[in-house]
């Protein structure tokens, strides 16, 4: 499958521009917040001695108020992969905190999004294939209902039922406390066992949207002539349903797959709090409440980069499933 180079360059170009704008916006956003944490931190921790406040300010690079200076310093640091040092948790480097937190969020969010899309599609296909059937109506109405339920409410309900009453799953956290002493296989099992409920919550919370989208797309595709031709050709139902129907129906919702990532990560913030899951959500939330500029920038940047990368991957994979795109 040879790529059309123009398409490739255009896609990567857009990704880079978006990344740059995200970086700049990322720099400005926390600055818009009132209250500069260094002086607050200084007063809180150093009980008001002025030299201590100045020492802290110098360390945080806030001593020179000019925005351009801070911006230049920020970009320079970024290029060295150094995301600066967190204020509220001085002197821990932001990169360190993010590196530990990001895999957990991306792991759960990506798995949940992919599985939710997969399951949503299967249900959507089966529903649209026999419109008006009991299955179709029941999934339709339940997905209407499910699509309007808050993430964290589902999380609380699942914990109440599966963890607290039935005890099938742990109450939260990401791994078993005795994780370090486990053998390789037990470690993997512990991770999966703890990740199951959060992922399951994210799936249920996002499932409805995908069912609706694909069902609408497939209804439209089914009215196309090539579907009629496929039936006339006496092809097996499964081939018509998947190779002809679903392959065309998933195209518009495929791009939606990655752009909804930002939304899912947003939702994951509340889920991680309820599940006490050490992801980016919790770090971002505390950073914002503590006005911790570097950590806010770090977490936003990581989220922005991961979403941009995923979108780029989606853009590159898209021509593989829709030949019309690669050649125009």
């Amino acid at each position: 499958m040879r790529y059309n180079s123009v398409y490739l360059v255009k896609r990567i170009g857009i990704a880079l521009v978006t990344l740059y704008v995200a970086v700049t916006l990322n720099f400005l956003l926390p600055r818009l917040m009132k209250g500069d944490p260094a002086s607050a931190l200084a007063s809180e921790k150093a009980l008001g001695s002025q030299e201590v406040a100045n020492a802290l300010k110098a360390q945080f690079g806030l001593d020179n108020p000019s925005l351009w200076y801070q911006y230049a310093k920020y970009i320079k640091q970024l290029l060295h992969g150094n995301l600066g040092v967190s204020y509220a948790n001085f002197p821990s480097p932001v990169a360190d905190v993010m590196l530990k937190a990001l895999p957990w969020t991306l792991g759960t969010v990506l798995t949940a999004t992919l599985l939710s899309y997969l399951i949503g599609w299967l249900i959507g296909i089966r529903g649209a294939w026999k419109p008006g059937s009991l299955f179709d109506n029941s999934t339709l109405f339940s997905s209407f209902f499910l699509s309007s339920v808050p993430f964290f409410w589902i999380a609380i309900i699942f914990i109440m039922i599966f963890s607290f009453y039935l005890g099938w799953f742990p109450l939260g956290q990401a791994v078993d406390p005795a994780y370090d002493s486990f053998a390789w296989f037990d470690k993997a099992k512990s991770v999966l066992y703890h990740a199951f409920l959060p992922v399951f919550t994210l799936i249920i919370a996002t499932l409805a949207g995908h069912i609706l989208v694909l069902r609408n797309n497939l209804m439209r595709v089914l009215s196309e002539d090539y579907m009629l031709l496929a039936k006339a050709k006496g092809l097996r139902a499964s081939r018509r349903k998947y190779m002809y129907g679903a392959r065309n129906a998933l195209l518009p919702s495929f791009t939606g797959l990655m752009t909804s990532l930002g939304h899912v990560i947003g939702g994951a913030i509340t889920t991680e709090i309820v599940f006490s899951y050490p992801g980016v959500g919790m770090v971002t939330f505390n950073a914002i409440l503590n006005h911790d500029f570097p950590l806010i920038q770090g977490s936003f940047l990581c989220i922005a980069i991961s979403v941009i990368v995923c979108n780029l991957i989606a853009d590159l994979v898209y021509p593989l499933i829709d030949p019309r795109v690669a050649l125009n």
């Binding site: 530990k100 956290q173 390789w184």
Partner: protein, 561 residues
């Protein structure tokens, strides 16, 4: 054991890829490894893969955020979880909040003052050894204190501030001499805030940046490893005050108190050092196995008032506000009896001998709506059409600042603003983040602000909050905690005398200060937050109730049932 952050994240990705494959098969794999223990009271914590031999493991639950385990350097105020140092390191003395007294740790016995009260000598207990085997030396102690002098940023409590420590020298190989530039009777309390660090490890690093990922202390527990769910500590078999009975101490990490409380109820965790959702405490106590240790503390939550603002200038208004607050129901409804009644004279009952406990339940300051309205009317305030008190055109309407994301605090704030409306004082609530609250307090850009005032373990420091040297006019940042802009020359005079007086005169002076504070009511106190430690007694016994039960010295003695 390398701190596994990089390894864990790589492992995680492979694990989560496996997740996609194994998810459907998950139900059987999870049931096989997890014997389905159900809710309520169950015996052993859920049977994870059997740990080696019969090592006795004590699980302690805590709300520890990911950013709080990025360093284990006792000098640093941020990025670490402070109770950790109590387990792994030793200060000279330990301040026992339950009894309000000092317990010698690295020090052999109580220190002794010179005649002019300007030098304090402490004899060390040389039995102590570093966990990597090297013995403790006097240089370690000198290094730990001199670092605070060299790195201004690290001296949070200003031990080397003016009028305090001048020099720390060794006398022989086992005695430390603290020379002061002025009399500073609370020095021993301040010594409890400095943990002694191994010089041979720290001198190679810059103590203000050193993350100390492999901490070596002298304390009862040794650092073993850390992962996303727990900090693992092994027992220090040759701890000089006696080896702990339990083999391993797991600090289970949660990022919110609700999950922690559920773990406590389910038995996954045996105790906590205190951040439990207070309203769920009564439910915990219904189960006979759970106990709650409560003791007063150094943090007094109150409605802080800017005494320079119009309306709040008159002490009558401030007194009325204090009387309008139903402190009893705040404690019962808001904090479910997990906190202590506050002292209108502000000094915490932790310093039992110094605090004027009579003031605490004195009827003159109890919840009394018509007394409050009478006070306002006698001061010339009249109710306007909308039922708000007014005097020569100025109505009693204030902004009421509170911390965002503290549901319990917000609930209590809503209760207080409701009560203030009952006595004709109007409020508009403003929610801001924690750092902003401090900024508003410092700059005085507030009228009423609900927050806690935390001080070091020293009665003098706690009362000096009301000293005029600790404040600045509204618009300027206050040097100290006197955010109320409260000035009273007599209080200043009493406090200055007390700072260098002997114990008896200090007690009497403090009584006068407390009486004046309760009269002037610069702040409307709510409750005193100390320790509220829930712990289970079904698997472990021999907790030492005279100490915080989950502190290092108590956990040392804890035994499996």
């Amino acid at each position: 054991m390398k701190w596994g952050s990089r390894k864990t994240s790589v492992m995680l990705f492979s694990a989560l890829v496996v997740l996609v494959g194994v998810l459907n098969g998950c139900s059987n794999s999870s049931s096989s490894s997890q014997s389905g223990t159900n809710g309520q009271t169950d015996t052993a914590s859920s049977s994870k893969p059997a740990s080696k031999g019969d090592t006795v493991v004590y699980h302690l639950g805590e709300t520890v955020n990911p950013e709080q385990v990025t360093n284990f350097n006792p000098f640093l105020a941020t990025g670490n979880w402070s109770p950790f140092f109590d387990y792994v390191f030793d200060p000279l003395y330990y301040f026992n909040p339950v009894k309000g007294e000092l317990v010698p740790r690295l020090a052999d016995s109580e220190g002794s003052w010179s005649e002019d009260n300007k030098t304090y000598t402490v004899k060390l207990n040389m039995e102590a050894k570093w966990q990597d085997g090297t013995p403790l030396t006097i240089d370690d102690v000198l290094y730990s204190f001199n670092t605070l002098k060299d790195y201004k940023v690290l001296d949070r409590y200003q031990l080397w501030g003016e009028g305090r420590l001048q020099e720390v020298t060794a006398q022989g190989s086992d005695t430390v001499v603290f020379k002061l530039s002025n009399t500073f009777p609370s020095l021993p309390f301040y010594l409890t805030t400095v943990y002694i660090v191994p010089k041979h490890q720290f001198e190679k690093e810059d103590p203000s940046q050193f993350l100390n990922k492999q901490p070596i202390g002298t304390g009862p527990f040794k650092f073993k490893s850390i992962n996303e769910s727990a900090i693992v500590l092994d027992k220090n078999a040759d701890y000089f005050l006696g080896a702990p009975n339990i083999d391993q101490l797991f600090v289970d990490r949660f990022n919110n108190s609700s999950t922690l409380t559920l773990a406590l109820e389910k038995g996954d965790v045996q105790g906590s050092t205190g951040t439990v959702a207070m309203p769920s405490v009564p439910k915990l106590l219904e189960n006979p196995v759970n106990k709650l240790q409560v003791y007063p503390g150094l943090n007094t939550f109150s409605v802080i008032m800017n005494n320079e603002k119009p309306g709040l200038k008159d002490s009558a208004v401030r007194r009325a506000i204090q009387l309008a607050i139903d402190r009893k129901s705040l404690i019962e409804k808001g904090e479910s009896n997990g906190v202590f009644p506050a002292n209108p004279g502000f000094l915490s009952s932790v310093f039992s001998d110094m605090a004027d406990t009579g003031l605490i339940d004195n009827a003159a300051f109890a919840y009394n709506v018509n007394e409050a309205t009478k006070l306002l009317e006698s001061d010339g305030y009249k109710k306007n059409s909308k039922g708000i008190y007014e005097k020569d055109g100025k109505k009693l309407s204030f902004t009421y600042h509170m911390a965002a994301n503290a549901p319990a605090q917000n609930k209590e704030g809503a209760m207080i603003t409701e009560w203030l409306k009952n006595i004709g004082v109007e409020t508009t609530v403003k929610l801001v983040t924690w750092p902003e609250l401090t900024k508003l307090l410092m700059s005085g850009d507030y009228e009423l602000l609900q927050n806690g005032l935390q001080t070091p373990p020293d009665p003098q420091a706690q009362l000096e909050i009301f000293h005029s040297k600790m404040t600045a006019p509204t618009g300027e940042n206050t040097p100290g905690l006197n955010y109320m802009r409260f000035r009273d020359p007599e209080v200043d005079q009493w406090l200055d005398q007390a700072s260098s007086a002997d114990a008896a005169t200090r007690k009497e002076l403090y009584q006068k200060v407390q009486a004046r504070i309760s009269e002037q009511a610069p702040v409307a106190v709510m409750y005193n937050v100390g320790g509220h430690i829930p712990y289970r007694t079904d698997q472990f016994t021999n907790y030492n109730e005279d100490l915080p039960v989950t502190s290092a010295l108590s956990l040392m003695q804890v035994k499996k049932k």
